[in-house]
Each structure stands twice: as structure tokens, then as C-alpha cells.
Amino acid sequence: MTQMPPLNDLYREIVMDHYRTPRNRGELPTPPAQRADGHNPLCGDEISVYVLINGDVIEDIKLTGHGCSISQASSSMMSAAVKGRSLEQTRELVARFKELMTSETADSSDQALRELGEIAALSGVSKFPVRIKCATLAWNTLTQALDDAPQQG
């Protein structure tokens, strides 16, 4: 069993910024928005994601809930990243983010990290296995919202 890496890997500057100043807090009227709720039974973190889908684009996204710095920062960064993206691009981003989390030896080439943008700052979480669930909660809840949303014509 290895020693844990230093905390700076976890609490990067930009992560702390999103935690202190979360983006896209609030609710959206449902419908037309789609809401999904997620929670982490182990720690009690809770999140609600509201997505407003227009055609195949996420036109708006809002979040409520509470949780630790990692879950809050991750959800804030997620919301900033997917707003305005196409559904397909969003699902790709979710997949890429989960790869980043689940494997310490994940593809962290410049190319992959560049596509993730500032979200790449969360890469340190993968070295703290118990915190991975904190980071992925918002993303799983987003996926849930997209799955639940009525197909648009």
C-alpha cells in the first residue's frame, strides 16, 4: 500500500476556485428543463442537475446541492464545460472524464488533457481513490438527466 500523494495534487488552485465560486448554481423550470438527482450514500453528498436541451445542444445547465470541495468543484467545472455543447460532445466528455478518474495510468497525453481543458486539474483525484466518487457524482447525475430527457425530434 503506497503512501498518499501530497494534497496539492488534489486541491489545485483552479479546483479551489470552482469550489469557492461555483458556476451555474440554481434551478431551471422543469419542464422544459430536465432534472436529475444524485447522491453519494457513503458521505451524504447530494446534487440536482437541471439541463435545458435545445435540439441536440445543452442550452443551459444549473446545479443545486451540497458536498465536499471535490464534488462541488467537479460539478461546477462540469457545468461550465458542457454548457453550449452538443449532446454527443457532452457524452464524449463524460466518457473522457471517467477515464481520467478510473485509471491512474489513464491516457493523460497532452492531447487528451487539452480536450478536457481546465477539468484536467481534477486528474489528481485519481490518486485518492476514496474521493473519485465525489468527483464523478455530478457527471453521473448529468448522464442520468440526459438519459431521462424526452427524445427531441
Binding site: 498518499m4 488534489l10 470541495s69
Partner: protein, 409 residues
């Protein structure tokens, strides 16, 4: 009535562990206690010299294994002042003990509409089995509330107990540290014609326990919280209640006879101990209670009281109100479990930063979600003591908390 904690600490191998460059500061005894060498050795000797299946063997090591297993039952009985070893039933943990109580005693004695009173302060182990019984058998549940002083609100106790068959409540909250007035609850429950079941998972590990004077009818606790191994728990009940409790799990060892038409259960503790029991774990628990008795539970309680007083004092005065104690602020009727709400820092992050200092505190709802909701919290960061805890560890905790506050401001 005191002991040299420095000497005692040398009995616990995990205290020699270094984590993240710091000696381990273990403040999570409320979740599970550290295990002294003597317990590990007792289990090792058992496996290396005596291991056999119990009860049915005639040969030497089988007789020894049975003697060791039943000897542990006698040790535990003595430790809690039980009238007889037969009153002590071994389970896998306190949680199974409550399931045994709810399903075996409960289904035999409670019918639709019968009332069981629980409390908002209780651990899921003493809530979920009763919800399950409600869902399967239609019993009615009522709840004692918790007041703003972090105590059970007894103002409507008589009302709640009116017509109740059982009151089941914790002796010490694993979140607040609150010690509940079991003697008083026993008296009032019995006066109302109800029995009293007590969750001793926290109390038995930290306070002297004597079921002869406790007033309870049932007492559940876990080995791993009282210096013993994982994989073993206890349900104690008065003989007269066991006599009216049908079996729970079915299988070998708990029967008197089996045919293709059905089975006749055994009598005595075996009735509730289906299958090969946790033999080595019982041996370990026996060693643990002997170790605790050799220190003296009065001394353990006094030691932890002093430490709790010191911790409450330091935590109250070191952070300009930025660290709130979720629980009684004095040591009156209170044990060494201290839940913290740290301004602006989520418990997960508190624990993560503290870990960098080698300090172990547990973030989360501590399996007491109704209680957390009562205080509008999703989680706390909880520090909790054991007989081996020392003031220097409280100092390390305070320093580490200061670091967390700085980091998140």
C-alpha cells in the same frame, strides 16, 4: 483507578504506524478500535494450536476449541455482569444482534399495530431492522426526538410509551457522544409494560456495564469496537426473554432434530448460533474483555473522560467559533465521541487534510442519517477516543484542524 497510558500504548501495534510522514494519530475508535497484541496472540495461538470445529468433536483439539469458545462466552458474561453465560449469544456484529432481536423476538411477540419506540439519535443498526419488521409485519414505530441540547427529549416519553411493547435505544450516541439515561428509560418503559433493548455498541466499549443493574432486557454490542476482532457481536438478553425467543438463522448446530418433515430447535445459546460460529473471533473477544478488565473499565472511563474534557476545552477555544461541536459541550453524561462542523470546510476535506498530518477522523453521516437531518447536516467530521488515546493527540488534531481552516479560507 488509573493506568499508565504510555505503557498501554505499546500493546497496540498500529500506534507504531507512520502515515504521510507522521506517527498515526488514531481518532476513530468510534468506528472501530485498535487491537492489542494480546488479542492477536490469542487468535494466533488458537489457530496454531487448537483450531477445530466446536461442539461436535470428541478429540483433544476439538475439546480445546469448544472450551476456548465457551470460555469466551463466560468471559463476556462476566464482563457485562450477566447472570449466566447462557444469556450471551454470539452474532457477527451488533447489527446482526438487532436483526436477531427484531426478527426472532420481534416476529414472535409483535403483531400488526404493536408499537416499538425508537429514537432519532439511533444508529441505522437499531432503525433499519425495525423498519423491515414494520414493512413485513405491520408494527408501528414511534420516535423519541432529540432536543437542542443534543439529548433525548423525554417530555413526551409517557405518550410514546403508551401501549408500546418495546423501547429500543442507544446508550451512547456514536455521533453526539451523548450518554442516555438508561436507568430512567428502563424504569419508565417497564412501568408502561414495555421491554427495553439497549444499543451498547459504543457504551460497552467505553463505560462499565453491568446488566444486573442496567435495567435493560436486551443489550447488543460489537467486538471490534471494544479492542476485539471483527466478525463477532453479542446479543445479551435475560434468560426469561431467551426462553420466549424462537430461532433466527437456521442450519447446523441450532437444531435438536431434523427430518424431511421439519426441525426441532435446540435450546440454549446454540439455538441462535447456526452454522460454524466465529470461533477464533470469540477467542479474540474473550482476550479483549480480559484485557479491558485488567485495566478496569472504571479506569478506562475516567481516562476517556479526562481526555474528552481536555478536547472539548481545546476545541472550544482554538478556532474563534469556526469549529462547532455537534454534541454536549461538557463531559456531563457524555462519552469521547466528538463530532465537528468546521466552517467552510466539508467533513470530507477536513478528514483529507487531517490525514496529511496522520490524523484519522471519520467524515460522514456515521450511519445516523435521521440524526444528521435533525441538525441540518449532511455530515460531520468525528473524532473519537479509546483507552489508548492521549492529550498529545488532541493537540495534533487541533493543529491539523487549524491547517484545514487555513487551507480553505
Amino acid at each position: 483507578m488509573s493506568y499508565d497510558v504510555r505503557v498501554l500504548r505499546s500493546d497496540f501495534p498500529l500506534l507504531r504506524r507512520v502515515v504521510n510522514g507522521h506517527p498515526l494519530t488514531y481518532l476513530d475508535s468510534g468506528a472501530t478500535s485498535l487491537t492489542p497484541r494480546t488479542v492477536l496472540e490469542a487468535m494466533d495461538v488458537y489457530y496454531s494450536r487448537h483450531h477445530s470445529n466446536v461442539h461436535r468433536g470428541v478429540y483433544q483439539t476439538a475439546a480445546e476449541a469448544t472450551e476456548a469458545y465457551e470460555g469466551a462466552r463466560a468471559d463476556v458474561a462476566r464482563f457485562i455482569g450477566a447472570a449466566s453465560p447462557d444469556e450471551v449469544v454470539f452474532t457477527k456484529n451488533a447489527t446482526e444482534s438487532f436483526n436477531l432481536l427484531a426478527r426472532a423476538w420481534g416476529t414472535a411477540h409483535l403483531k400488526e399495530g404493536d408499537v416499538v419506540v425508537l429514537s432519532e439519535m439511533d444508529h441505522h443498526a437499531n432503525l433499519v431492522p425495525w423498519f423491515q419488521l414494520r414493512d413485513s409485519h405491520g408494527i408501528t414505530l414511534r420516535f423519541l426526538r432529540v432536543n437542542d441540547e443534543y439529548r433525548l427529549d423525554l417530555s413526551n416519553l409517557d405518550e410514546l410509551l403508551d401501549g408500546a411493547r418495546l423501547l429500543s435505544v442507544t446508550a451512547m450516541s456514536n455521533v453526539l457522544g451523548t450518554v442516555t439515561p438508561i436507568a430512567q428509560l428502563a424504569e419508565r418503559a417497564h412501568a408502561a409494560g414495555a421491554l427495553l433493548a439497549v444499543d451498547g455498541a459504543q457504551s460497552v466499549a467505553h463505560l462499565p456495564t453491568n446488566v444486573a443493574t442496567l435495567g435493560a432486557d436486551f443489550l447488543a454490542f460489537s467486538g471490534h469496537k471494544m479492542l476485539g476482532p471483527t466478525g463477532i457481536g453479542v446479543l445479551w438478553a435475560k434468560s426469561e426473554h431467551w426462553a420466549e425467543t424462537p430461532p433466527f438463522l437456521g442450519g447446523g448446530g441450532m437444531i435438536s432434530d431434523v427430518t424431511l418433515d421439519g426441525f426441532t430447535p435446540a435450546s440454549g445459546p446454540a439455538r441462535y448460533e447456526a452454522g460454524t460460529p466465529p470461533i477464533a473471533e470469540a477467542v479474540g473477544l474473550g482476550a479483549a474483555v480480559r484485557y479491558l478488565s485488567s485495566i478496569g473499565m472504571d479506569a478506562v472511563a475516567a481516562h476517556e473522560l479526562d481526555l474528552t474534557a481536555y478536547a472539548l476545552e481545546r476545541l472550544a477555544h482554538s478556532f474563534d467559533e469556526r469549529v462547532r461541536i455537534i454534541g454536549p459541550s461538557t463531559t456531563l453524561d457524555r462519552g469521547g465521541v466528538i463530532s465537528l462542523d468546521v466552517e467552510g470546510v466539508h467533513p470530507h476535506d477536513v478528514s483529507q487534510v487531517l490525514d496529511q498530518h496522520g490524523v484519522c477522523v471519520r467524515p460522514g453521516h456515521h450511519c445516523a442519517k435521521p440524526l444528521m437531518r435533525r441538525f441540518g447536516l449532511a455530515a460531520t467530521a468525528r473524532a473519537s477516543f479509546g483507552p489508548y488515546s492521549i492529550p498529545a493527540e488532541v493537540d495534533t488534531l487541533v493543529d491539523a484542524l487549524r491547517d484545514a481552516l487555513e487551507m480553505f479560507t
